[in-house]
């Protein structure tokens, strides 16, 4: 659990890279692509959070090995 901040930092770093390149791929104009990065990053974090939540729920319910 003490590693959590480092894991979150690594996740944020990877998320920024993915969002930046995805934003520039989607938007032909650089200014629009740059402006879209914060909104896209929030959507990325929320989406990943939902997936993580579902995985944790599954771990304690249908996929529990206890």
């Amino acid at each position: 659990m003490s590693d959590l901040p480092i894991h979150l930092l690594l996740f944020a770093l990877m998320g920024v890279g993915i969002v930046v390149l995805a934003s520039f791929y989607s938007e032909p104009e650089d200014c629009k692509a740059l402006a879209a990065i914060p909104r896209r990053f929030v959507a990325f974090v929320i989406g990943c959070g939902i997936v993580a939540l579902l995985l944790v729920l599954a771990q304690y319910t249908v996929a529990s090995v206890r």
Partner: protein, 273 residues
């Protein structure tokens, strides 16, 4: 259907698909047999050289439980479909007992993987050439070459297009991810034998991954890899993100190139002496 498609040399998708199946076949279909045969010799020659150096043992790197018919689909070699099918039919996963690796197996598997990616660049060229009207040429850089440049050095394709900000961002993300991944995994990510699939993705990151592997590949792991998994993920994601950069550079490169055409021969050259 736009003007370029109406007056092009053939169906662009057919040309690209033919090239994927057999290197150079797309150009033979487009009426450029000499280029097609030369491309076949270079791309397939690279694969054959790789097979000779590796003894065809690239897929023997896979642990037994990871071996399946679709395993080659997740490697760069799949870019050269006929070669990878021949490779699997001739060598497969090898005999059911371990045997020593040939001396130059790393170089050999590098060449077979490079042949697959080169053929993807060739397919891009076939796609563009099919859309290029007869008797015309573009004044802009060829999109297939831009993709090749973007593979060799991430962001170089964008840079050559004049999209400098994108080029710098692509290089920073892709090379940064591979470098960070290597640091976190202490070089364990730079070994195809150790991490077959992660290596396959990371190979697409181009020279940053190759240079790191040339200097630090195959190093012994001497301590606990606390963030080894994160390192593998960073390296692999770096390579996969470069595919996104190739798509961007090809899409815009093809649009630009088709919008800036000129006659292939200058008017003076067409006047009989």
């Amino acid at each position: 259907m736009d003007a370029a498609q109406r007056t092009g040399r053939g169906d662009a998708n057919v040309a690209a698909a033919l090239t994927w199946v057999v290197p150079g076949a797309g150009h033979v279909y487009l009426g450029a047999p000499i280029f097609g045969i030369a491309a076949f010799l270079v791309v397939t020659g690279l694969y054959v050289l790789g097979i000779r150096l590796s003894g065809g043992m690239a897929f023997e790197f896979l642990q037994t439980d990871l071996r399946s018919l679709i395993a080659p689909v997740l490697t760069p070699e799949v870019g050269n479909l006929s070669a990878v099918i021949w490779h699997m039919r001739t060598y497969g996963f090898g005999p059911p007992f371990p045997r020593p690796w040939p001396e130059h197996i790393e170089l050999g598997t590098f060449l077979t993987a490079a042949s697959g990616v080169l053929n993807v660049c060739l397919a891009c060229k076939a796609h563009f050439d099919a859309r290029l009207p007869r008797g015309m040429r573009s004044t802009r850089p060829a999109p297939g070459l831009l993709v090749l440049a973007g593979w060799v050095l991430p962001g170089l394709g964008h840079w050559l297009q004049g999209r400098r900000l994108r080029g710098v961002l692509v290089f920073s993300c892709v090379a940064g991810f591979v470098a960070l991944g290597t640091a976190l995994a202490q070089g364990a990510n730079l070994d195809r034998e150790r991490h077959f699939y992660y290596w396959s993705a990371q190979f697409l990151a181009g020279s940053p991954a190759w240079i790191l592997e040339a200097f630090w590949g195959g190093e012994l792991v001497r301590s606990d890899l606390r963030y080894g998994d994160a390192g593998l993920a960073f390296g692999a994601v770096g390579g996969l993100l470069n595919i996104l950069a190739w798509l961007d550079v090809y899409g815009s490169g093809e649009r630009e190139a088709l919008a800036h055409l000129e006659p292939a021969e200058p008017p003076a050259a067409r006047v009989p002496a």
